[in-house]
Symmetry: C2
Subunit: 151 residues, 2 copies
DNA sequence: AATTATTTGCAAATAATTCGCATTAAGAAT
DNA sequence: ATTCTTAATGCGAATTATTTGCAAATAATT
């Protein structure tokens, strides 16, 4: 009964290994990028209700099994935490997301805590970069070239 | 007519210096911390409609007059961009926000762009730290002491 | 003062997230 | 294996967050 590693993860955190939670975690595992609640609900299909998806996300977030990511899309995204620390580069035109590794934030985190007046600990951080992907930059420049030609 | 510097800022960016926009910018200036759309609507009172607040935020964001901040509160926050680059330390219990200065991200930003396969430029970034403020840590520890005593 | 293109307010729509409650099912106990 | 207990789920409705359409208002221009 304990052969499923996702179930083991859940039980170790004090949760029942329910069908819904296993389906959600499996979905995260299969899609290793920032996912919105809607994407998960639709991706999993009818087997899990959206209220359950939101509730599950919330509790798993509390145990650091998944983590929240902000892409500035007016809704939250979430990622499987076991992907390890990494950050994101987000295209503000088309929404493309590229992972960013090797930003070591450990030192900075320590320094920030040491300099803080009011905080006792720092458990997480988010670091995302926003810009323009090459494809969008290309479109943009060809569009403005056209405008120039017309005038 | 050009004596108001906020009006000048708006006109320089190609906007009309309307009552609504001036009120919104003045509110940002007077409250230099991350503000939600709701806080702005309620803070300004009846003089500006919420649709206008959202529309104004969106367009000013596009011109980097205000910038978006994510505190993981399920709604966006915004800050006057002229506050200069800084980041935030957010308490995950009570929501307290402390500003964080002197994280110089310029080098990191350049490196990230240099290592990126698909991006042409990076125009912004967000960096927030999440943890527990001293007040909440205090409450937490006294609460768990009580629990221990009771058992 | 008249003109024109923006911008706004209002009301209604849509998107995102949460809640209440009766029912179900996971894991523990028997 | 069956029963028990409580956490967890589904469903529907409620809230919260954000956007939109359109007629009326207004800033900047002439």
């Amino acid at each position: 009964m304990k052969q499923n590693p996702l179930a083991a993860t859940l039980r170790q955190s004090g949760y029942k290994a329910t069908h819904a939670r296993l389906a959600i975690l499996a979905y995260f595992k299969k899609h290793p990028r920032p996912l919105s609640a809607r994407q998960i609900v639709e991706g999993i299909g009818t087997e899990v209700d959206q209220a359950t998806v939101y509730r599950t996300i919330r509790s798993l977030k509390g145990k650091n099994i998944i983590r929240q990511v902000d892409l500035r899309h007016n809704h939250a995204h979430y990622e499987f935490a076991s992907l390890g620390e990494h950050h994101h580069l987000v295209c503000t035109r088309c929404g493309k997301v590229e992972d960013v590794h090797r930003c070591n934030m450990e030192t900075m985190r320590r320094e920030v805590l040491a300099e803080s007046k009011h905080f006792a600990d720092i458990s997480q951080h988010s670091l995302e970069f926003y810009g323009t992907c090459k494809a969008c930059a290309q479109k943009e420049s060809s569009r403005s070239r056209e405008e120039t030609r017309i005038r």
